[in-house]
């Protein structure tokens, strides 16, 4: 009797885990297919469609893909992506933490109004400000530079401010009060107490902003027209954009390569990312 309930439980577990694992495999199949495609020849891609393991792991596609287009190889595109992503991330992390501290801890006239303004920007479609911003940057001669893609980040982002505020709200107020009694100014409370204590929120901000900037397509598409300035996201589209036939192998290889930083960060920091999404409802 006991053994039968036990074996029933084991059977249930096996069914459950094979279902969850099978569904999970289905979910990541397109990703695996892309990775395997980067090792396949064009013939294999078109004729042995479903096969995930290529005949041999040749790096030809990577070598050919890396060469890029004309005189521009992918080192240029990756460098552009890294410049935009890094400068934007530094800016948004510093500025958002400053704003979060002021909204969460300092009482000043107009604070609630400013906070409401900030939250309302979350609902604002980017398209409403996109066109005028483009015209302004065009008039300033900054189109085809990275400035339009980086500068707005330095003025804080509502998503990250809100997330950090929730984090700061969880810190005991006594910390600040004790620091004030010790003669600490608000500026040193921010830099010496708050900043170190909210480092998990800072890390989450860095990761999510990195992802957003790295994947960003519309911004570069609007502002950058010279291929020498293209980030990876714009560059890999050129594989499919040419009037000649799509060169699948190199396209898959460079697509895979473009996601390597994303995977690596996820492997190292997935806890911060998933916790950040669940506490603040951020879209990652």
């Amino acid at each position: 009797m006991q053994t039968s309930t036990k074996s029933k439980r084991i059977l249930k577990g096996v069914i459950y885990h094979s279902f969850v694992f099978g569904l999970g495999f289905l979910m990541v199949y397109p990703v695996l297919w892309m990775i395997s495609g980067s090792f396949k020849t064009n013939f294999e891609i078109l004729n042995e469609v479903l096969k995930l393991l290529p005949d041999s792991f040749k790096l030809d596609n990577f070598i050919q893909g890396w060469r890029g287009f004309g005189r521009l190889d992918f080192s240029v595109f990756f460098r552009n992506s890294f410049i935009i992503t890094t400068l934007s991330t530094i800016g948004v992390t510093i500025s958002s933490s400053l704003v979060a501290y002021s909204f969460a801890r300092i009482r000043f006239p107009g604070r609630n109004f400013l906070f409401a303004c900030m939250m309302s920007t979350l609902m604002l479609p980017a398209q409403v400000v996109m066109i005028p911003q483009y015209i302004i940057f065009l008039e300033l001669g900054l189109v085809n530079t990275f400035v339009p893609l980086i500068l707005p980040s330095w003025f804080s982002s509502a998503f990250f401010v809100f997330m950090m505020m929730q984090f700061i709200g969880g810190l005991p107020k006594e910390l600040d009060e004790a620091a004030v009694i010790d003669g600490c100014s608000r500026y040193s409370i921010y830099s010496k107490i708050i900043m170190p204590l909210i480092s998990p929120a800072l890390i989450t901000t860095i990761i999510i902003n990195f992802y957003w900037r790295w994947d960003d397509f519309m911004g570069p598409l609007i502002y950058l027209s010279r291929p020498a300035r293209f980030p990876v996201s714009l560059a890999i589209r050129l594989f499919a954009d040419t009037t000649s036939q799509t060169n699948y192998g190199p396209m898959f290889a460079m697509s895979t390569l473009s996601l390597v930083p994303v995977f690596l960060i996820f492997l190292c920091f997935n806890r911060y990312l998933l916790d950040g999404i669940s506490t603040s409802g951020l879209k990652g």
Partner: protein, 308 residues
């Protein structure tokens, strides 16, 4: 920065007051809000009443842009229809699937972190250009999906990306596939529900479906509302996937509003008309969000209020 330090010394008292330090810390937001939101919005509002094109004079044409949208632009109506179809199909499917997976994953202790990462992966990379390019090949005439169909015995080739009725479904599937963020938020919500509710229900002899219907869904309804609003706003603005995979075609069947707006602004350079389109988008998103919140009273259960 140097200038600020100078101020610190000379106006020590002032700068350390609550009010001034509050504004100093909030300065990045205030400056950014004025410079990157308010000023562009005013500018955009003005542009929507002009026939401005890049490099030309802007001429005040009053309400002509708005009149043109409704009387002389079939593409406008089409893009709204397409966008609403996409929103109405993709958001509920995505929410349902996210909730299903979140509930599925609460039933295991072992491997749960691994599963969570696996199921989150599509969300992590789904918005990238790389995945859009792959998606296009999955649904190509000789791609993975058709090969699978052939194995299942479907003889004729399905032209997913060439059929005006089917192309939008490749984009809907891509959107539903990115259910990870909603799933993570649901999982956090599920953890908040006290186990004692379920224990009490089990003692009363309730089934799994009764527990889901009378405990899980009511307790989770605020989270469902939140996810629905966020996903709806996001779906209204979808751009990248449609731009890369179908570029609005075939026969404009995937010409999303954001894509149409982009074309007007950056292909036809009609900045004035595009600004009017942008303001209409704002109005549309605002009205839809309000509708969701208004109807939410019917189904969202707030515990603190003790019911509806």
């Amino acid at each position: 920065m140097i200038k600020k330090t100078g101020n610190l010394i000379s106006y020590r008292k002032l700068i350390h007051s609550q009010t001034v330090s509050g504004y100093v810390f909030a300065l990045p937001f205030i400056a950014g809000f004025l410079g990157f939101t308010i000023l562009p919005m005013l500018f955009s509002f003005y542009l929507s009443f002009t026939s401005y094109r890049i490099g030309a004079e802007s001429i005040w044409i009053g309400l002509d842009n708005y009149i043109r949208m409704f009387t002389n632009d079939p593409m406008f109506g089409n893009s709204i229809k397409v966008t609403i179809y996409y929103v109405v199909a993709s958001v509920p499917l995505k929410i349902f699937f996210a909730l299903f997976v979140a509930m599925l994953l609460t039933r295991t202790k072992i491997l749960s972190g691994f599963y969570r990462s696996i199921y989150y992966l599509p969300s992590l990379i789904g918005g990238s250009v790389a995945v859009s390019l792959v998606w296009k090949e999955l649904f190509a005439s000789r791609g993975v999906i058709n090969t699978l169909f052939a194995m299942l015995g479907v003889e004729e080739t399905v032209f997913w990306l060439g059929d005006p009725n089917l192309a939008i479904w490749t984009l809907i599937l891509l959107s539903v596939w990115q259910f990870g963020s909603s799933m993570i938020i649901f999982a956090a919500g599920l953890k908040q529900i006290p186990i004692s509710y379920y224990e009490a229900a089990r003692i009363d002899g309730s089934s799994f479906w009764q527990q889901t219907l009378y405990i899980t869904l009511p307790c989770l309804s605020p989270v469902i509302l939140f996810n629905t609003v966020m996903q709806t706003i996001g779906a209204f603005m979808s751009f990248t996937q449609a731009f890369i995979i179908t570029n609005g075609g075939p026969m404009d069947s995937t010409m999303f509003y954001a894509l149409y707006l982009y074309n007007r602004a950056f292909n036809y350079h009609e900045m004035g008309y595009a600004s009017a389109l942008a303001w209409f988008l704002l109005l549309m998103v605002g009205v839809v969000t309000m509708l969701i919140f208004k109807t939410s009273d019917q189904f969202v259960y707030y515990e603190s209020k003790g019911g509806r």
